[in-house]
Structure formats: C-alpha cells, structure tokens
C-alpha cells in the first residue's frame, strides 16, 4: 500500500488550493481564517510529503529505482510528449522535505511577522502559490514540467519582492529580478531545445540514460553535451544568482523578510543547484562545463563575500552571504561532488532561513530599522532572537559541530582533491571566502547585539517577538546544529550517511585511499582555523565598540558593490533603453505600426471622398450606371466568344 505515493499530485495541489481559496475569497477574512487555510494546506502538504518519503523508501527497497508516475498527458505533438509526470528519488526526497518543512516553518513565522501588515491574505496566497510551483519544480519528471515550476517560482518571487508595491524601490526590485531571470531562462530554454533536438525527448530518465550511452566530450571541446550543459547553467546562474546575473538578489531584499528567507535563501534560489545536480550525468559528460560551473561558483563565493564585508543593511549582508553560499554549492557540483553540493543546499536552507528569520525578528523588534549602525546592544533585550542568530552565525561560519562545518568541509575537500581543475587554487579561494564569511557574520552579530545602543531609546520600543515567530526560530536553530550530523561518522573514519543516501542518484564516488581521510581531518582543522580567524578579526574591529567611519578607498568600492549595477546600467540597460525609446518607440511603433494603421484609415477616407461624387442624386445618371453595369456583365459573360472575334478584327 502506498496511498500518497500513488497520488503524489496531492502534495503540490494542497498549497495551490490554499492559494486559490485565500486569494479569491480571503479579502475580507480575519487573519485567523487566512492562517487556517494557509497553514493547513502547507502543514498537510508537509505531512503528506513525510508519508510519501516513508512509502518511497519502502518502494526503493523493493525495486531499486526512482519512482516515476505519469498522471496525464499535458502536451502531445507528433512524437513529442510532455506529461504531468512526477518523480521521486533520493534527490527529490531531500528537496521535498526542505521545501515543505522549511516552508511550513516560515509560514508559521509569517503569521507573526505579517500580522499588522495590509494585504495579509494576498501575502499568504502568494506564499502558498510559491510552494505549489516549487513543489512542481522538484517533483517534475521532465524538463518541461520543471520549467513550469521554474517560471512559476520566478513569478511568485516577482510578486512577493514587489509586495509593498506602493514603494517604488520595491516595484523596481521586483522588475529587476524578473527581467534578469528572463536572461537566464532564455539560456535554459535554448538548452532544453538542444536536448530535445539531440535526444527527441525531455523526460529525465530517457535523456539521462541516452546521455550515459554517449562518450563524454573531451576537455576543451564544445560538443553538444557541453553546450547543452552550459546553456542550462546560464539558466541556473539567473535563478541561483551567480556571476554575472546575481545582481537581482540583493535588491530582492525589498520584499518582506519571510519572503527573503523562504524564496531568496532557502528554496527558490537553490533551484539552479538542483537543476545542475539533477542533470549531473549531462555535466559529468561535459568536463568543460563542469570546470565553468566550478570557476563561476568559486568566483561568486569569493566576490559576493567581499561585498558582504562592508554592507550596513542587515538584510543586504545576508543577501550577499546567500549569493556566496550558493557559489559554494556550485563549486561542489562543479568539482563533481554533487552530494556535497546538495548537502550544503540542505544545511544552508536551515541556517540561512534561521538567519533571515532572526534578522526579521530584529527588524520587527526595532520597528522596521534595518541599518546595523542604528542598532547595537540588543543582546539582553531580545535574548531568544539573539541566541538563534548566534546559532545561525556559528553554523554558517563553519564551527564544529554545526551544520555548515560538515557540508562546507565536504565541498572544500572535494575541491582540494580535484587536481585536473586546479583544485588547490579553487580551494584556496574558497577557504579565503570562508574566512570572510566568518568575519562578516560575526561583524553582523557584534554590530547588532553588542556595543553601545546607537538608537534613540525613547523612539524605538525594543520588544521580543511573539511565540509564533520565536518557535520556528528555535526549531531552525536546532536543525542548524544537527543538520550536518549525517556526515559526523565520516569524520571518525566511518560512512557519510548523506552522500550514501544520495548515491542511488549520483552514483558511488570513487574510493579514496586511506591517506585521504587524514588529509580530510587536516583540512577540517584548517577550515576551523579559518572560521576562528574571521571571528578574531571581526572581534578586533567591532568587538570593542565601533564607529561608522568615512568610506574611502577599497571600502568605498566594496560598499558600492564594485559599481557593478552602475556598469550594467551603462553597458546594458542604458543602450537598451535608448534603443527602445529612440528606435522601437519613435520609429517602429509610431512610424511603422501607427503609420500603417493610420495610413489605411486615411487612404480609405480619400478614396471615399473621390468616389462619393458618383452619388449625384440624379436619377438619369443612375440609369446610365445601370446600363454600364449591364454592359460589363454582358462583356464578362460573352468575353470567351467576343475575345477571338475581336482579335480576328484587329489582325
């Protein structure tokens, strides 16, 4: 018996129902009713997901394959078929539990955070809709259905970033996110087209088994597989905010904080990593593409971390931190450690959701203030939030035994071992980024919770958040602590349970020699040292009370994010705007399109003006017209007879 597994569609459908009910009917409802619908649908979805996973493990025990079930044909044209087919394998299991579990916690948190906001029903309707699309994305068994989820989460991201749509910056940020993602989606679609052209199908199972039969492209060769893999990766850079398309994510912080936690940290932005991991066979057959993924990931991890060092907005720090951590995940995938990449995806979902929600709690306590230079000394006032934030910080910095210690360590270790990709260099950069990660996170903690109070006590009434916000924080804090323990035995020379769990998907990794284990221990030690170094530097600079100094030199460049936004504005947006305004609008639209339409109207008027003079009102002229008409009819009818006769006369 596998009731949920056979009706897998029910897991994504529940949030869709919740979204529809709240969105269509919820306008006048009290918050309690909206809560019941939104939490009920996501909670049930989570429960069903747990049950589906339990059933799947039994199914896998018996069959040793992924569970794939077609529900109905969606698009059928010739030999092309894209069905509503859902798939459950070990990779999906991880994603499914992260999405429904963390999503549910963030829904609970939102009931507290959004309690006094307008558009309460609208917020939850969007949030549920997001859950629906995200679940479609992770459950899809073919590229087309995955793309539906992919676009759907992009839409929800747009709607939620622009949730406070009366604020121009929020509306602009929503548009920016949407448009930048379009660029990535363009590459993604081209990748899908190329895959369909090559393999005549878009079903994951069929495509990947066919890819597996092909010989891999050689390093440096741009074969079909490499191009397809790179095009898919373009899509991933858009959705997962990698260089060069990362610019939308920091701006996306205009959305409400739970949205930043759910969409722009824990789930949606990891979709790119998921796609790369899902298509891992394609990537392992395209070493060039893998190398590109690794370099982009490593560069992003470093680059975003440097920007994060100096930001003053608490959410901006976390946003750049997210970009940086996503870079780590791609680095892991790029060096072939897909399991480690997904592992980091999961732990990141826990601790980054925790950090964002804690930041939201701080902002809530400060009455909307986001600038860390206007905080300070909050430790004793909001103890629960502060402890949770500290847990998240220790976790992301990578201290033993918190989650990121294991996942980041796994990625860095795999990178170190990957000699053909200059693994040692990538490792060095990644390690330096880890130092910076530790630095900016502890800087955030010190600026926010310690030092003197840099706000007006009488104006800001600092208060701890209600239970429905702090309880999800505590749960996430615990998860951030224990989320990495699957890999704990590996440290002691045993098995890494997480990688082993995913091995049916990614295959069993090469068996490393005994000496590798001691090397891993050494590298773990180095990583701990790096985290400690970041901590110490942060304490030196900010631990003893800090003043916001003038921004000069390197600090200024970092603070302005390397002027990348300005560069894009000048190189891409500006010329496009010029082209749109001066060519597409004033020439093509006004000249060609409006010209054609107006020209037809003017022409018709002119013809009518000329011809109307035949309508003289004179009965006898009408009589002549009747005669002429009769003659014409006569001529047409008798033309076949008259024609040779006339020619005969002329000749």
């Amino acid at each position: 018996m596998q009731p949920i597994l056979d009706h897998l569609w029910i897991i994504p459908l529940l949030p869709l129902l919740g979204s529809a009910i709240n969105g269509l009917l919820g306008k006048g409802w009290p918050n309690k009713t909206v809560n019941a619908v939104a939490l009920g649908s996501t909670g049930l979805s989570f429960a069903f997901a747990l049950e589906a996973v339990r059933e799947f493990l039994g199914y896998y025990e018996a069959n040793h394959t992924a569970f794939i079930k077609p529900f109905f044909d969606w698009i059928v044209a010739g030999n092309f078929r894209a069905g509503f087919d859902l798939q459950l394998d070990q990779l999906t299991v991880v994603m499914l539990l992260v999405v429904t579990g963390v999503g549910f916690l963030i829904h609970i948190y939102s009931t507290g955070y959004m309690a006094h906001e307008g558009g309460y029903y609208r917020f939850f309707s969007y949030l549920n809709l997001f859950m629906f699309f995200m679940l479609i994305l992770v459950l899809a068994a073919n590229f087309v259905l995955l793309f539906v989820g992919w676009e759907g989460v992009g839409l929800c991201s747009y709607l939620l970033i622009g949730f406070y749509f009366l604020r121009k910056s929020a509306a602009d940020a929503g548009k920016k996110a949407f448009i930048v993602n379009r660029i990535g989606d363009f590459g993604f679609m081209l990748g899908m087209f190329l895959i369909f052209r090559t393999f005549h199908t878009l079903d994951f199972a069929a495509v990947f088994s066919k890819v597996g039969e092909l010989p891999p492209d050689a390093m440096g060769q741009l074969g079909t597989l490499t191009v397809a893999a790179l095009l898919l990766f373009v899509g991933a850079t858009g959705k997962s905010a990698q260089i060069p398309l990362y610019v939308w994510l920091p701006d996306a912080m205009e959305g409400p904080t739970p949205v930043s936690a759910l969409i722009h940290a824990a789930t949606m932005v990891t979709a790119g990593v998921y796609v790369v991991a899902r298509s891992h066979i394609l990537y392992t057959h395209a070493p060039t593409a893998m190398y590109v993924v690794a370099i982009i990931g490593c560069a992003t991890a470093f680059f975003a971390a440097t920007i994060g060092l100096v930001q003053s907005d608490i959410k901006k720090v976390l946003a750049y931190s997210t970009v940086s951590q996503l870079g780590y995940m791609f680095l892991g995938c790029g060096v072939g450690a897909f399991g480690a990449g997904i592992f980091h995806l999961m732990t990141h979902a826990f601790f980054k959701a925790l950090l964002f929600l804690s930041a939201g709690s701080v902002i809530h306590a400060m009455g909307g203030e986001q600038d860390m230079w206007h905080m300070g000394g909050l430790w004793s006032k909001i103890k629960v939030t502060a402890w949770c934030m500290l847990f998240g910080t220790i976790a992301i910095a990578g201290f033993f035994p918190f989650a990121a210690f294991f996942s980041k360590d796994a990625i860095l270790f795999s990178t170190f071992m990957k000699d053909e990709y200059n693994g040692k260099v990538l490792y060095g950069i990644g390690l330096f980024a880890a130092i910076m990660t530790s630095f900016y996170m502890f800087r955030l903690v010190w600026l926010t919770f310690f030092g003197e109070e840099r706000f007006d006590e009488h104006k800001v009434h600092v208060h701890e958040s209600p239970k429905n916000m702090t309880v999800p924080l505590m749960i996430l804090a615990i998860l951030s602590l224990i989320g990495g323990w699957f890999a704990l035995p590996a440290l002691l020379g045993g098995k890494d349970y997480f990688t082993e769990f995913l091995s049916p998907v990614f295959g069993v990794g090469e068996v490393l020699p005994e000496s590798a284990h001691s090397l891993e221990l050494w590298l773990s030690g180095v990583a701990m040292l790096a985290a400690t170094a970041g901590l110490i530097v942060a304490w030196q600079m900010y631990g003893k009370g800090a003043k916001q100094g003038p921004s000069t030199g390197l600090h200024k460049i970092l603070y302005h994010k390397y002027y990348v936004d300005e560069l894009y504005q000048a190189v891409v947006v500006g010329p496009l705007m010029w082209l749109s305004r001066n060519v597409l609008w004033k020439v093509v639209d006004v000249g060609v399109i409006d010209g054609t339409v107006n020209g037809i109207a003017t022409g018709t008027t002119a013809v009518g003006d000329t011809v109307r003079h035949t309508q003289s009102g004179n009965t006898r002229s009408y009589a002549v017209w009747v005669l002429v008409g009769a003659l014409v009819v006569f001529a047409i009818i008798f033309w076949p007879i008259l024609h040779p006769a006339l020619f005969g006369v002329v000749r």
């Binding site: 309508q615 003289s616 009102g617 009965t619 006898r620 009589a623 002549v624």
Partner: protein
C-alpha cells in the same frame, strides 16, 4: 413562316429603343414606358426562341416576366403619382433628393 432571325432583330431594335429612351428622356412616365418596352422586347425574343426550338420554356418565362412587369407597374406608378403630387412635375432632373 417568318425566320427566327427577324424576330430577334426586331427584339434587339425594340430593346435598343428602350435603352435610348430610358437614358435620354426626362419624363418619368416615358422612362417607365421604356422599361416596359425593354421587358417586352425580351419577351419577344423568348417567344421566338421557344417557337424555333419547339419547347415551351420560353413561353413559361414570358408569363413570369408579365407577372413581374405587372407588379412593377403597380409599384412604379404608385411612386410616380406620389412624386408628381409632391413636386408638381414629372421631370426626373428635379428628383435629386438622394444626393449625398
């Protein structure tokens, strides 16, 4: 027996006279009579063909034409009488209210 051609030529002459009168005369009654003349020229041609081909189709058609002509005469004369009453004239040149 008179050859069919003679009838046809007579029919064509009558029809041509009708056209000329229809286009050039100004009196409504005359124009009306010109139309009747053309109808009857056609009738003549029908009967002539009917006779020469030994079929009755043409004669049947003539009956139809006569019926239509009668109806037309009834409506047309009605219009003419109203026009004459309103304008105190039968000159078509002065009936030009349909001008745009």
């Amino acid at each position: 027996m008179v050859p069919t051609n003679y009838y046809l030529i007579l029919s064509a002459i009558l029809f041509g006279l009708g056209i000329v009168a229809f286009v050039f005369k100004r009196n409504i009654i005359t124009i009306f009579m010109a139309i009747e003349l053309m109808l009857n020229a056609v009738n003549l041609a029908f009967v002539a063909f009917s006779q020469s081909l030994g079929k009755t189709d043409g004669e049947v058609f003539v009956l139809f034409v006569i019926v239509v002509a009668a109806a037309e005469a009834a409506v047309g004369l009605g219009i003419i009488i109203l026009t004459a009453r309103n304008r105190r004239s039968l000159n078509v040149e002065r009936v030009d209210l349909l001008k745009l």
